[in-house]
């Protein structure tokens, strides 16, 4: 179970429409495909700008998969579900 756990971080900048959309899209995808196996952290760079440099963030929103290895990055509001699944290496269920 632990090896299967997804540790995800979503970087946003304030409550912009894109940020809100990304958060909603991510939750939907995770619930559909990774139910019970994921952990999402939302990072607001407006509140913690130093993290942008530390975590190499350029585009907003950026989703980073820390676990499982290797590190994966997806940028955008995550409206394209297929791309998100490819980016996170999740075989679509169903």
């Amino acid at each position: 179970m632990a090896s299967e756990g997804y540790n995800l971080r979503l970087y946003v900048a304030g409550q912009t429409p894109k940020s809100i959309a990304a958060i909603a899209n991510l939750k939907k995808i995770c619930d559909a495909h990774l139910a019970g196996r994921y952990d999402i952290t939302i990072v607001d760079l407006m509140k913690d700008p130093a993290l942008a440099q530390r975590d190499q963030i350029v585009a907003i929103p950026t989703l980073i998969r820390h676990l499982p290895e290797p590190l994966k990055r997806i940028i955008g509001d995550l409206s394209n579900v297929e791309k998100v699944l490819v980016g996170l290496d999740i075989a679509p269920t169903g």
């Binding site: 942008a52 997806i74 394209n80």
Partner: protein
């Protein structure tokens, strides 16, 4: 800087000096303050170094902290690269005067899903600027984003926003961009950054590379429009604003000795004008370097500084050779008055030579500059370019009242005396040195072809290299022309001999004349005696009163006729 005094300057435009020698002159004060400037050029033309110097000078000279956003190179690499210019970047980072941020973008690691913007970059940049109170920003090279992200429409919109945002922030920024095919930058950054565009170039012609800089545009400001050569070396970047517009040099009336007393005598007894440009042309082995060395020696004796640009010989060789004519140049090198600069002409392009010379002159501030030989520079460029370069050099030296002495190697004879480098019209004084062959020996001669602004000697002199330096002798001028060396000695001997013969002849003639006179006098004596006898006879006959002269006459006269 200069911007304050330049009348063409719009008062509203404030400029941020780059501290790069020459660039601030060409831009009349620096880059537009609080605005982005685009710095473009092909790979390897020095963009990053330029941008880094801008930040470094800002932090060290103008108390303006700076942020370097690197898309291309790791900061560690950049810091290492500029450490060769003696930039201590680590110290500035520690003092919070410089801040590096490396933006890593790799397409293969990024999946795109839906709409995004570059707010993350803005946040990073804003945070970096605010954390050290930066006034200057470098973004090197933002076009890398096009390689890392897939949606060019979003990128373009975001870049436009970025440059506006930089202006709002009030930072003076340099954005670098790589040259594209037929465009200034590969992705058309010049569309967004329109205040000031500077192009760098590193061209290779005839296997010699020359770096050049051009200000493509500078909104609201006058700027030099030419291509200016620049050099990058251990001293940093130097841009050469090469041509000053007019001919407004000072014309000093002070004289400087040529170091050769006899030559000074030909120049109204006091030498060249200070600030004059002197050309010495002559064939190989006619003594050009020796005359140059005398001039250098004289300058140092006056306590003035002198730079000797040696294009063909090594300084050691010149110093050794000049010992043989009694010149000790080493003493001046040792006490710092004389600086040799020996560079192979083919080492780099013409412009780079010029730039290097400029900088050395500006740094050392010599009163006298020697370029020996100027003609060697021919191998570093085309004749036209050489002439243009020499013009700039002469111009530059004149504005600084530096007395310059150039030598030039000529071929052929004196009659068509012209130098390979066609600079004679720029030259104030022109000395011709040549060898003439008589009786199996070559003799050196010197002629002062021109010397502007003074009544100079028009005489050809015999030029002797002695162990006490150069001496000039009055040449023999006779029915057979100007003679020197053995021919002159021969002629002098002939003259003496001819004189002796003539004297004997006149003695003889004198003696002959005296003899003839004595003969004539003797005859006169005889005739007078005859006359006296005749008169006595006449008296006798007169007392008889009978004229019976005929038989008597006949008797008297006859014996006279016999001998």
């Amino acid at each position: 800087m200069k911007a304050d005094t330049d009348p063409r300057e719009l008062p509203a435009l404030v400029k941020a000096p780059t501290g790069i020698q020459g660039l601030d002159e060409v831009t009349y004060g620096g880059l537009p303050e609080g605005r982005p400037t685009l710095l473009c050029g092909a790979a390897g033309c020095g963009k990053t170094l330029f941008a880094m110097t801008f930040l470094y000078n800002g932090a060290t000279l103008f108390a303006e902290p700076g942020v370097f956003i690197a898309f291309e190179e790791q900061p560690a690499e950049i810091i290492k690269n500029v450490s060769s210019l003696n930039y201590d970047v680590q110290k500035l980072i520690a003092e919070k005067k410089l801040l590096f941020d490396y933006v890593k973008i790799e397409r293969t690691q990024i999946e795109e899903s839906g709409d995004y913007d570059l707010e993350g970059l803005f946040i990073r940049l804003g945070y970096a600027i605010d954390s050290i109170g930066a006034k200057r920003v470098v973004i090197d090279t933002i076009e890398n984003l096009f390689g890392g992200l897939q949606n060019p429409a979003i990128l373009r919109a975001e870049l436009r926003r970025l440059f506006e945002w930089l202006k709002d922030k009030g930072v003076t920024a340099i954005i670098t961009g790589e040259r594209g095919d037929g465009t200034l930058t590969r992705h058309g950054l010049e569309e967004y950054v329109s205040d000031c565009v500077i192009q760098l170039d590193n061209r290779v012609t005839d296997q010699l590379s020359t770096r050049r800089l051009r200000i493509v545009k500078y909104r609201g400001s006058a700027h030099g429009t030419n291509e200016y050569p620049f050099i990058i070396d251990e001293e940093g970047i130097t841009v050469m604003p090469v041509t000053s517009a007019g001919l407004a040099h000072d014309a000093p009336t002070e004289r400087v000795s040529s170091g050769i007393p006899d030559l000074d005598m030909m120049l109204e007894g006091s030498g060249f004008f200070r600030g004059a440009s002197v050309l010495i042309s002559g064939m190989a082995g006619s003594g050009k370097s020796t005359v140059s060395s005398h001039f250098a020696d004289a300058a140092c004796r006056r306590g003035e500084r002198c730079i000797y640009f040696a294009m063909e010989e090594s300084p050691q060789q010149i110093i050794r050779n000049m010992k043989s004519v009694g010149l000790d140049l080493q003493q001046w090198v040792t006490n710092g008055l004389l600086q040799f600069s020996a560079k192979r002409p083919s080492l780099f392009g013409l412009e780079t030579h010029l730039a290097a010379m400029h900088r050395q002159v500006m740094r050392f501030e010599p009163a006298v500059v020697i370029v020996d030989p100027l003609s060697a520079l021919l191998s570093a460029g085309k004749p036209d370019d050489v002439q243009a370069m020499v013009l700039r050099l002469i111009d530059f030296l004149k504005t600084r009242s530096v007395t310059a002495l150039f030598t030039s190697l000529t071929h052929g004879n004196v009659e068509n005396a012209r130098t390979d480098v066609q600079v004679s019209s720029l030259i104030d004084a022109w000395l011709l040195l040549y060898n003439k062959e008589y009786y199996g020996e070559h003799n050196r001669q010197l002629y002062l072809l021109k010397s502007r602004g003074m009544a100079h000697s028009n005489q050809v002199r015999e030029f002797l290299l002695t162990n006490r330096g150069i001496q000039l002798r009055e040449v023999y001028v006779g029915p057979k022309g100007v003679l020197t060396g053995a021919a002159r000695r021969q002629q002098e001997y002939n003259d003496a001999a001819a004189n002796a013969v003539g004297q004997e002849e006149s003695e003889r003639r004198k003696r002959e004349a005296a003899y003839k006179r004595r003969q004539i006098e003797a005859r006169i004596a005889v005739l007078q005696a005859d006359l006296a006898a005749e008169e006595a006879e006449a008296k006798l006959l007169g007392s008889d009163a009978t004229p019976r002269a005929e038989p008597l006459d006949w008797r008297y006269v006859r014996p006279q006729e016999e001998p």
